[in-house]
Amino acid sequence: MFKSKYFEVIRTTAVIVISLAIAFLIITLVSDHPVKTIGIFLLEPLSTKGHIGNVVEMAIPLMFTGLAVSLLFRANMFNLGAEGIFYFSGVVTSVLAIHLTLNSWLHPLVAIAAGSIVGALLSAIPGILKAKWNANELVTSLMFNNILFGIGLYLLNYHLRDAKAFANVSYKFEKTAQLSKIFQGTRIHTGLIIVVVLIVLAHLFLYKTKWGYELRMTGINREFARYSGMKTAKVIIMVHLIAGFIAGMGGSVEVLGMYSRFQWTSLPGYGLDGALVAMLAKNNPLSVIASALFLAYIRIGADLMSRLSDVPSEMISIIQAVIILLISAEQFLKFWKNRMLLKEAKEA
């Protein structure tokens, strides 16, 4: 059949290669020891168990938000609200982690469930506004990020803040609430298992169930879905609920897995990173794993590079910017695809 069907794969690979090449170029210009610095950037994340652990730890929240955003993008909803929900659900979970007394099985379960449900309900609001009144989900979700951050910060400052601590952080979580580590010598926590299970479930949901089918058809052509008899407003609200649930769970898991106090005084950025992960994964749940690991890898690489060499870690923003720019630039490599098509057409 069409070789051009591999076009997207090749394109994504090309984007990554180009952005890495630009990174190397910058390192070469900035660093006194470019070869050594590039070596650190590329290989150091794999050098010790601890570093590999860092990559995986960072990939966990990225997988959560990447998955949530993928589902929204699949439904053709350009919603970036995962950011605020991730943050606010973290706050909600923290409240329960501090104030509840339960055994170590039930405690994280209850706290995470609460964070996830709150996330789902909050996410439903832009969904309902979109489904019923066609309010642009990008605008409402971005405004929601600010609102949720404001309320979350208020709760931290006035209700959760530990006066005895030296920074603006909450009281300590109960030990029972925290997620256990699953690999000795790393901070990789049970959240990894949760998110991988979630990704597999999302894959099955999207491709193997009638609800996932409705979601995909609504995303491709809402008019067609409506004509076929689907209730597209319901589908849109449903995908918002699911995505909010996943993003909220991500915030809850991150808080309980990585910290002993709630300490985000600004939005952690995982929600917007989720959009990048989703774009790299072409909104495919299973690809989210690889794409989140990749992003985590280059970030940890950059972080180690800044500690061990003379290049600051902000360089990573340039790589990310190039990736987003090239992936969203429709014309990139189009000429090459056209040539490929022409060749195939002639052979046919």
Partner: protein
């Protein structure tokens, strides 16, 4: 040999979705001729014209104007070289006046404003020069389709077009309007213009064209003097076989009324009547055709039948098997055993980026057979898709192929396959063969007749007179939201006579229309 006014050599065009629209096409145009490009839909006529008009760039090939090689990168390039185009779907601003539309993009100025009087004068001058009467101050939305087309032609002429491309200009016209258009075109030719006339209506091509280029599946099949070839020869070249638009219809047993429409009235928010006192019935084993010039209430009628009425007030009853479905949702209507082939397959009929198989199950994925517990039954769906692709002869690499990669005809076959294969009691078919090639159209007609034979009721709304006269058992004609005529033997009605009713020049009295609609 005289040099060609415009020549295209070796044009190949491949669209980004892999569709090969033109393959190594040669085309040459002599000054002062009317040159027809004939071919089935999807043969690549429109793409070739888009390339001439700078809307698409060819993937390969060269274009020469008066022997000079050119590259047309935008319609402006084409306009600058004296090429004008009248699109099938008019590019006019409905709320503007004729004069305003005429000068759009080249407005005469007075200070910072537009010199409206000058625009009117320019319009009148052009209209007089080419003997095409229009009222410059009329609003475009109030004009008839024929008038709108005239404005489009004038627009191109005002911009200095010497080569005029008309893309299926007669598709939306009544027979009378078509004759007038032909008079105008002949006149323009006498004044030295060169006209490219795209059509698949062979009678028209024979009537006014000097030469004809025939296209088939993206290739040029040759250039002929129109006088030297017969309609049969042209059609054979177009489709590769002789077209028979006659069907042997067996009589189907009357299955009793399935759809009954009683005194249906629809008014828009301003109170303007869109549909007035529509009453008719469609029985099982019967195809009822609705003819009419577009915009005479057919759209609203279909909307009323498919739960699509919005922002209007309606009264009366629409019953399917006795149950009133007016104002029900399309899902509820479908559950009453109604299937619906929509007019616009790209907008409503298909999800372009989804697979053929996904497109085939969109109206039945909820059913018990298609599901196994929580999950869709993948093997059942695959089997269904494979058998439908086979039965409906969809040319594709397999059910997993993206439907957007298929040609219009094959895509429409998928839509028809989906709607016909559920065994509907009533099928509403809206322009089921618009924009598809003759082969696919015949196939679709056969499927509609098969459904009829199986006892389904079929309501067919179509602008293709040939189709509607040939396969309907009863024909209704709509004009300005009313049924103005009804015929029990449509194949005995001539296109000319039908045209008179469609234009509102003739109408049957209430007793006549009533009779036919009562006992059908």
């Amino acid at each position: 040999m005289q040099t060609a006014l415009l020549e295209m050599r070796g044009i190949t065009k491949v669209y980004p979705n892999g569709v090969v629209a033109n393959k190594d096409v040669h085309f040459s145009l002599r000054a002062g001729e009317i040159h027809a490009i004939a071919g089935e839909n999807g043969a690549g006529k429109s793409t070739l014209m888009k390339i001439i008009f700078g809307m698409e760039e060819p993937s390969e090939g060269e274009i020469f104007i008066k022997g000079e090689k050119v590259r047309l990168q935008s319609p402006q390039d084409a306009i600058d070289r004296g090429i004008g185009m009248v699109h099938q779907h008019f590019m006019l601003v409905p709320s503007f006046t004729v004069a305003e539309n005429m000068v759009l993009g080249m407005e005469p100025r007075r200070g910072v404003g537009i010199n409206y009087a000058e625009a009117v004068r320019m319009t009148e001058e052009t209209a007089r020069k080419y003997n095409l009467a229009v009222n410059p101050k009329a609003k475009v939305e109030d004009l008839t389709v024929g008038m709108k087309q005239k404005v489009e032609i004038l627009k191109a002429l005002l911009r200095g077009a010497k080569i005029l491309i008309l893309d299926e200009p007669t598709a939306v016209l009544t027979p009378q309007e078509t004759e007038e258009l032909f008079r105008e075109l002949t006149q323009l030719k006498e004044q030295g213009h060169t006209i490219v006339f795209i059509s698949h209506k062979l009678k028209e091509v024979k009537a006014i064209c000097d030469r004809i280029t025939i296209m088939r599946s993206g290739r040029s099949e040759g250039v002929f003097q129109t006088a030297d070839v017969t309609e049969q020869e042209i059609s054979r070249l177009m489709v590769g076989r002789d077209v028979v638009l006659k069907y042997d219809k067996e009589t189907a047993p009357d299955g009793g009324p399935v759809l009954t429409v009683e005194q249906l009235n629809v008014n828009d928010q301003q109170g303007k009547a869109l549909l007035t006192d529509i009453s008719f019935a469609v029985h099982g084993g019967q195809i009822v055709g609705i003819a009419g010039v577009e915009g005479n209430g057919q759209t609203q009628l279909i909307e009323a039948l498919t739960g699509g009425l919005t922002g209007v007030s309606s009264s009366g009853a629409v019953k399917v098997k006795g149950k009133d479905i007016l104002n029900s949702s399309l899902l509820d209507i479908r559950q009453q055993g109604v299937a619906y082939i929509p007019e616009d397959r790209m907008r409503q009929g298909a999800a372009g980026e989804a697979s053929i198989s996904d497109n085939l199950i969109s109206t039945r994925y909820r059913s018990k057979e298609m599901n196994r517990g929580l999950f869709l039954n993948g093997s059942k769906i695959a089997a269904l898709a494979a058998s439908l692709v086979e039965e409906f002869k969809v040319r594709c690499s397999g059910p997993a192929q993206q439907i957007g990669m298929l040609s219009g005809g094959n895509m429409q076959k998928v839509v028809v396959a989906r709607e016909c294969s559920t065994g509907p009691d009533l099928l509403i078919a809206e322009q089921p063969t618009r924009g598809v090639d003759i082969g696919a159209a015949q196939f679709i007609h056969k499927k509609l007749l098969e459904l009829r034979q199986a006892g389904s009721a079929v309501l067919l709304v179509s602008a293709d007179l040939n189709e509607i006269l040939e396969i309907s058992d009863v024909l209704l004609v709509m004009y300005e939201g009313q049924i103005v005529a009804s015929f029990e033997k449509p194949s005995a009605v001539s296109e000319e006579e039908l045209g008179l009713y469609m234009l509102g020049i003739k109408r049957q009295n209430e007793r006549q229309t009533g009779e036919a609609t009562e006992h059908v």
